[in-house]
């Protein structure tokens, strides 16, 4: 959480390690690598999806 994964923060997926896992995420101005199993434990909403829902 201290690394920037806090509610309301924008998370952007960046590079993958060769083989696809772990992956680097851009969050709160820095790049953090997480394994898929760790990343899967976070609840992330899709920005675009939310925008569409709001428009509907």
């Amino acid at each position: 959480m201290q690394l920037g994964f806090i509610p309301g923060m924008l998370v952007e997926a960046a590079h993958q390690a060769p083989g696809g896992d772990p992956r680097v995420y851009r969050v709160d101005g820095s790049e953090i690598a997480l394994r898929q199993e760790t990343a899967a434990r976070m609840f992330i909403a899709n920005e675009l999806q939310e925008l569409r829902n709001a428009l509907d």
């Binding site: 590079h15 390690a17 060769p18 772990p22 101005g29 820095s30 953090i32 690598a33 394994r35």
Partner: protein, 625 residues
């Protein structure tokens, strides 16, 4: 200690060390600032009972005054979750007065991401200690178009703020001025968020940033460009392999001239002593014991320095984090993780620094598994005996281009050790050290040019530690072993080595090691390794053959060939690949795992593996030939 009132008394009477604490997150340039401030007036401090290493140093002023300063472990928060955080927390709150009583704090913050990193200021300021906030990496901030109003930030936080670039020394004057004050003023009152509420701290930090006109720098373009290559699915993997091979290549080929130079220096010293001193026990002790034993260890200095040079360059440039990322998947298959890569790479030079390097692994079980397999990696100390035996028993024939049979044998031994380590890790991680899928969280710092100053300090530190060990522990051990090899005296003359204490012990263990094809001389050699380090094997065999005065074949290589069967030679190679014959490693494992349990288990495991492996090799080779 409270059980012994006298000890407490002495402790209380001793003046406590007041020190300024250096606090900050990893990658904030904390250690660089520490080195810039203290120069070489520093020493590594190991905390009693905890597995965290830190540096104590002194900042000297023109009027001769010195201010002690302590570099605490890098942390992201002050909540005592990890070992590093607990130590930092306890020192700052005065729970570890035996280390230092903190009189003031320097909080280092990476200025290129102020909104996130300033969040650590909230718990630090709540301690109400005199504090200076150091916004580091000012050059990066400016270079990428960011700004911050330092005076405004001082007003908002109620403490002084300095803007620095630790690598160039920019702005460090203000830090020195802060430390040089006779009485450092306590912070003015400023509103702080609820500390347990991480989002609130983060919002507070962002608010502080906004109020002091902080403009975040543009994303690091070069880092993104470089990562496109270094983390490319194909190129990234190839670059990773190339870098790893380069490190290996350098350890073996580039270190060679320097090692040869040290060897000839030692040989020259021996000849000089032989020429100046009359034949006596003292001369023999100096040449065989001190020069032979300590010299055998000092020869490895170039290799160790080269390894640390590479690791330092890779770490400071930011590539090491990418390497850990790339290695994670492969190491994950055997239950380890990417952060194990750095220790396992270092272990190819020496297991001791490798075990210290496991401190970056937060997951305790992953860390212990890495510590347990690190000494199986082929360290530099095994090379002399490998070279001797391979040279003596394997005829050089071309296999593929410039690679000959001897190189293939050497590569085979590396592979054997590596596979044994991987298999051990797999077994450990699926049994006693089984853990929940460990969260792998690793920050990718932007790439930076490493500076010679920071890398240089580190090399100096390592060289000093290594030479100190060679000059103290190893020196004592070699002298003790030399005595065992020459005592008891008979008619004022030392007995032949076969009848000495060491020789008798060698004969006593001979039945035990005969199944492996070893005789008592090999037994004495192996015992000498227990006293010092593996590199003692060759010098001990040299001493034994020399004192036996076999004039016909003075060459060590041909003596070994006469002394061992082919099966015994292979058994010796396999034995050395697996056996834990290094007192330094055992002691560092005990310290880092917090007790004898793992250290003893590891020693027993490796010894059994070495014995069984050596036996199998002896039988197999004897049966084939």
């Amino acid at each position: 200690m409270s059980a012994n009132p006298q000890l407490v008394q002495i402790d209380a009477g001793r003046p406590r060390t007041h020190a300024v604490a250096l606090v900050g997150s990893p990658n904030s340039g904390k250690s660089t600032l520490f080195n810039t401030l203290t120069g070489l007036r520093q020493k590594v401090a190991n905390y009693p009972g905890v597995t965290v290493e830190s540096h104590l140093g002194r900042v000297r002023f023109d009027d001769g005054r010195e201010v002690p300063i302590i570099d605490l472990p890098g942390i992201y928060s002050l909540e005592p979750v990890s070992e590093d955080e607990r130590v930092t927390h306890d020192v700052l709150t005065g729970r570890m007065p035996e280390i230092a009583t903190v009189s003031a704090i320097l909080l280092i913050v990476d200025a290129t991401n102020l909104a996130r990193n300033l969040a650590l200021a909230a718990p630090i300021l709540s301690l109400k200690l005199p504090t200076l906030i150091v916004l580091n990496m000012a050059d990066d901030l400016r270079g990428r178009g960011g700004t911050v109003d330092v005076a405004q930030l001082e007003a908002e936080l109620g403490v002084p703020v300095a803007l620095t670039t630790a690598t160039t020394g920019e702005g460090v004057d203000k830090v020195r001025a802060f430390l040089g004050q006779r009485a450092i003023p306590a912070p003015k009152w400023a509103p702080l968020p609820v500390l347990q509420d991480v989002p609130a701290c983060r919002r507070w930090a962002a608010q502080m940033g906004e109020r002091c006109g902080y403009r975040a720098p543009a994303p690091p373009l070069w880092t993104r460009r470089l990562d496109r290559a270094f983390l490319h699915p194909v190129w990234g993997a190839l670059i990773f392999l190339a870098v790893t091979l380069l490190v290996f290549q350098s350890i073996f080929t580039w270190a060679e001239p320097a090692m040869e130079a040290i060897k000839s220096l030692i040989a020259g010293g021996g000849q000089w002593i032989e020429a100046t001193l009359p034949a006596s026990a003292l001369r023999s002790l100096l040449i065989e014991g001190v020069l032979g034993g300590v010299g055998a260890v000092v020869v490895f200095l170039p290799q160790i320095l080269l390894l640390f040079l590479f690791i330092g360059l890779l770490e400071d440039s930011g590539y090491l984090a990418r390497a850990a990322l790339i290695a994670d998947r492969t190491l994950g298959r055997v239950g380890l993780q990417g952060k194990s890569f750095i220790p396992l790479l270092s272990a190819h030079a020496c297991a001791v620094p490798a075990i210290l390097a496991t401190r970056i692994i937060e997951n305790k079980r992953d860390r212990i598994a890495t510590i347990l397999i690190a000494p199986l990696m082929t360290c530099a100390a095994r090379l002399p005996i490998y070279t001797l035996i391979i040279g003596a028993f394997i005829p050089e024939r071309e296999v593929l281009g410039p690679i000959g049979t001897r190189a293939v044998a050497l590569i085979g031994l590396y592979l054997l050790s590596f596979l044994a380590a991987i298999a051990t890790a797999r077994v450990l991680k699926s049994t006693v050290l089984k853990s929940e899928a460990s969260p792998f969280v690793l920050e990718m710092p932007p790439y930076r040019w490493p500076t010679w100053r920071t890398v240089g300090y580190r090399l100096y530190d390592r060289a000093l530690a290594f030479l100190t060990r060679a000059g103290t522990v190893i020196l004592v051990m070699t002298v003790v072993f030399w005595l065992l090899a020459h005592l008891p005296m008979r008619n004022g003359q030392p007995v032949p080595i076969e009848e000495s204490i060491a020789g008798q012990v060698g004969h006593a263990v001979e039945p035990l090691i005969r199944p492996l094809g070893f005789n008592w001389r090999i037994g004495v050699g192996i015992l000498s390794c227990v006293f010092g380090a593996r590199e003692m094997m060759v010098s001990t065999l040299g001493t034994i053959y020399q004192t036996e005065q076999d004039e016909e074949s003075p060459d060590l290589r041909s003596r070994v060939r006469q002394d061992l069967t082919l099966g015994g030679a292979w058994a010796l190679l396999v034995f050395f690949a697996f056996a834990m014959q290094c007192a330094s490693t055992v002691s560092v494992v005990r310290r880092e795992t917090g007790g004898w349990g793992w250290a003893v288990a590891q020693f027993v495991y490796m010894t059994v593996l070495a014995y069984v492996g050596g036996y199998a090799a002896n039988r197999l080779v004897t049966w084939i030939s």
